[in-house]
Symmetry: C2
Subunit: 282 residues, 2 copies
Amino acid sequence: MSDIDGRAVAKAIRADVAAAAAKLRAEGTAPTLAVVVPTDDEGTAWYVRSIKKAAEKEGVDCRIEQLDAPGKGEIIAKLQELSADPDVHGIICQTPLPEGVTLPEVGWYISPFKDIDGANSEGLGRLAQGRRTWAPATAAAVLELLKREDLELAGTRAVVVGRSTVVGKPAALLLLNESATVTVCHSRTKDLAAVCREADILVAAVGRAGMIGADFVKPGATVIDVGTNPTDDGGLVGDVDYAAVAPVAGRLTPVPGGVGPVTTALLLRHTVEAAELSKTHP
Amino acid sequence: MSDIDGRAVAKAIRADVAAAAAKLRAEGTAPTLAVVVPTDDEGTAWYVRSIKKAAEKEGVDCRIEQLDAPGKGEIIAKLQELSADPDVHGIICQTPLPEGVTLPEVGWYISPFKDIDGANSEGLGRLAQGRRTWAPATAAAVLELLKREDLELAGTRAVVVGRSTVVGKPAALLLLNESATVTVCHSRTKDLAAVCREADILVAAVGRAGMIGADFVKPGATVIDVGTNPTDDGGLVGDVDYAAVAPVAGRLTPVPGGVGPVTTALLLRHTVEAAELSKTHP
């Protein structure tokens, strides 16, 4: 088994981002990401600071727009304001959202030209149509990791466990666009382990620590672990039982150091792409 | 094996449409469907006339907007005009389109409030988000037929053969929203027959006459045949080899008389729903 090194992939992407950001700045545009934070959740605050730090290191400005116990209307108003602001190129609306508010209903107010984390239904629809768009960054990171491996995606069997709008469904659509034969599983799937064993490529995006055991994995399969489950001692573990699966899988992403850093790097790449787009589509 | 009777389902839907249309007319609104026809293809002309006849029988007005060898700009201008016309409630853009023009790029100009055949990326995105929307009518017909059978969809294995934007992908998303475990196959799928044999519910949407043989079908499976392939003698056959599959399948839709009439009935149902929506969202 070989680890898939997400940190190395992220480093390569971020080097490209830094070059593109420098070029944009030389042309008078400071690529800028705005992150709307509608929660005082500590984990979210930590994550948002890590995005800001990464962004600024590569020459991307990052505005954190902290909202204090906002209603739906305030979140929408902020997203509209940022969508109309010519100095902002990429917009993320962070979760968790206040009770009763869903990401699709507020995501609609992010301009499709700035929707670098695929929160607007327009982007998801374009993805389903096989058109150019920014997929949600975590789903895009799954594909980025797979495409950088020496793997043929067309014709392989891919199984995605999890059907969320931010990971499972867009990852499935991206894999389908690459001509994989794609199965989406979820909490209602019967005999989940047997379905997962059909996979040449297994994507785990359920949010349950270590639930993918050795019996879920076909020998030699490539396993992408999207899970980031906090442990009691302040660490992170994936959805895959790493120790059990490592002897069975052909390749496996670790947690941390797999999908996570690539997701952050792609948020930055999408932001510089949006900044480039703003020059022809102001 | 029992046939799934699409004509009976269509009749029931059309009775509901007629009642809703009569109520709308009594309230001063004549529910109206506009069909943009950018081709002089004979099969299309026949199909469009059959929609018009069905619509008018149930009290839905139908405007056929025939365009003569149009460019992309003319198609878009017509769709924008109809989107802005308060007397039009539902809009379909018929295919085939002129060479070099795709449905997603013109479908974007159909107002989401009138997009009763799911051509706008906004609608497909809402579908992927699990929100209320009008799916492309053929995909919606697949679900309508399944839901009217005494079948548990949650947890069953569904295989969709075909990944088009108008049938395969939206049918997969609809099945996923019903908690089926969904696999999407296509021309690059390896050992297609074996993958299809995993299906409790098999949806064939490839457009190749009779390609789904007995060896593609698990005994007792429910098979929905979306294919409408013209025969030399002016008839229609499905993607399923009916004679071969009938002894194996548990239930099977015939062609003609399966998905087709339900698709037409749903275009009308969607139109009256759009007319109802226009009263609160003029």
